[in-house]
């Protein structure tokens, strides 16, 4: 279990590092907060219409604190919690209300509360993707149980669109990589992972939408699920290959053991980082391209910036289309690599022994 905790610790380190920089960026009002567009927030951003603050749920010193939003948390009677950016400076009140600045809630002495279970923007879009997955596939499965699509041809747009994808995942991903006889057990998991990631990625393409796969915690949870599926259903052969590699001299076995053991954890780690980095970099690329217009206006004056802006807008459009493609490819790659790892682990070489 320990390496899992270490992995979680690494992830925590990584995400807190990102949020720390975003806080430093927001202090300078003239800068465009690029990292702030990518990281998680405690509000839904509907610029220029406004923002919706999300509920705060904090567990501290054995007590639960539940507030409708961050503003009501900061304006409560006891000043137990405060916004992190108010620690050094004076409280600024607008209409007698404390306005959250960094949305990072700390105790009034500056330490972080025990657990912050607050609902964030990434979580909202994660739930939305889950609800859409359920709404699409529960009626579809009912249809197939009644016989439409099995005894007759598929009816309706949903059945026609998703049947091709489902068949593709079953035949070209699950059956190809896990092998006949065992793939039925893992097909539901692979389908769920594929469509969840796909819907989460597509939310990043929508206006005001956030792709929750650009959050390393989401991808880490997905990778941990694959890791668990791999290890729980692993064959004896798999464990033998890790701890006592067959067919090599004894000293080599001792050298191979830590290498193989490390390999167990690098696979899900790579899965997690790959999905996160691909989705986050797409966002950063789009904002960097649009930001070039403002850099040009500072370097060469606003006239040249206006004149060349169409280049960057066209390039952004191109990158947006690439992002749509990458959404598909990353969902596919995550699913096929999950299937590959599961297939490697559950394979007990029974076919080779039969020959």
């Amino acid at each position: 279990m320990k390496p899992i905790f270490r992995l979680l610790f690494l992830i925590l380190l990584f995400t807190t590092g990102i949020s720390a920089t975003s806080q430093a960026e927001t202090e300078d009002q003239n800068r465009v907060d690029l990292i702030g567009k990518v990281v998680d927030h405690h509000y839904l951003d509907f610029k220029p219409l406004g923002t919706i603050e999300l509920p705060r749920f904090i567990y501290d010193d054995g007590e639960f604190f539940f507030y409708r939003n961050t503003t009501s948390l900061l304006n409560q009677e006891s000043d137990r919690f405060t916004d992190a950016s108010y620690l050094d400076s004076q409280l600024e009140k607008v209409d007698g209300q404390i306005v959250p600045a960094s949305y990072e809630v700390v105790r009034s002495d500056g330490t972080t509360p025990d657990f912050d279970f607050s609902i964030t923007s990434h979580l909202i879009f994660f739930w939305l993707a889950a609800i859409i997955t359920l709404l699409v596939f529960l009626p579809l499965s009912r249809k197939y149980k009644q016989g439409t699509g099995r005894r007759t041809e598929p009816k309706g747009p949903f059945q026609n669109i998703f049947e091709t994808l489902v068949i593709f995942i079953r035949d070209d991903i699950a059956l190809q990589n896990i092998g006949p006889g065992k793939y039925q057990k893992f097909t539901p998991y692979l389908l769920t992972v594929f469509f969840m990631i796909l819907f989460m990625n597509f939310f990043g393409l929508m206006p005001w939408g956030v792709s929750s796969t650009a959050d390393i915690t989401v991808t880490a949870v997905l990778a941990i699920f694959t890791f668990l599926a791999t290890q729980i259903f692993a064959s004896k052969e798999h464990w033998k290959h890790i701890f006592w590699f067959p067919g090599v001299p004894v000293p080599i076995k001792f050298i191979l053991m830590p290498v193989e053991l490390l390999g167990l954890f690098t696979k899900p780690f790579a899965l997690c980082i790959r999905l996160f980095a691909n989705m986050a970099s797409g966002k950063i690329l789009i904002f960097s391209l649009l930001g070039t217009i403002f850099i040009f206006s500072e370097l060469f004056g606003p006239g040249i910036a206006y004149g060349t802006s169409w280049i960057w807008v066209l390039l952004t459009l191109f990158v947006y289309l690439i992002k749509a493609l990458v959404s598909f490819i990353q969902a596919y790659v995550f699913t096929i690599l999950s299937a590959l790892f599961i297939g490697l682990a559950v394979d007990d070489h029974s076919e080779e022994q039969a020959h």
Partner: protein, 74 residues
């Protein structure tokens, strides 16, 4: 000074990992193109294994990028 050096190292590291990944993915693309040109009927299987090996190379490159990000944020 040390902070600047860390940022410089992060920039160099990101560039070098990208070169490595680009060489790797380019070679995979070359192999896949040649393979499917010789055997067009196997292009589906070749595409799948091309994507898988590209994903593995990408994974290694991303490890390098993560180190660079940690350096840049330090």
């Amino acid at each position: 000074m040390e902070m600047e050096l860390a940022h410089l190292a992060a920039g160099f590291g990101a560039g070098i990992t990208t070169i490595g990944a680009a060489i790797g993915i380019g070679m995979i693309g070359k192999g896949a193109m040649e393979g499917s040109a010789r055997q067009p009927e196997a292009s589906g299987d070749i595409r799948t294994s091309m994507l898988i090996s590209a994903a593995f190379i990408e994974g290694v490159a991303l490890f390098g990028q993560v180190v660079c990000i940690i350096l840049a944020l330090s």
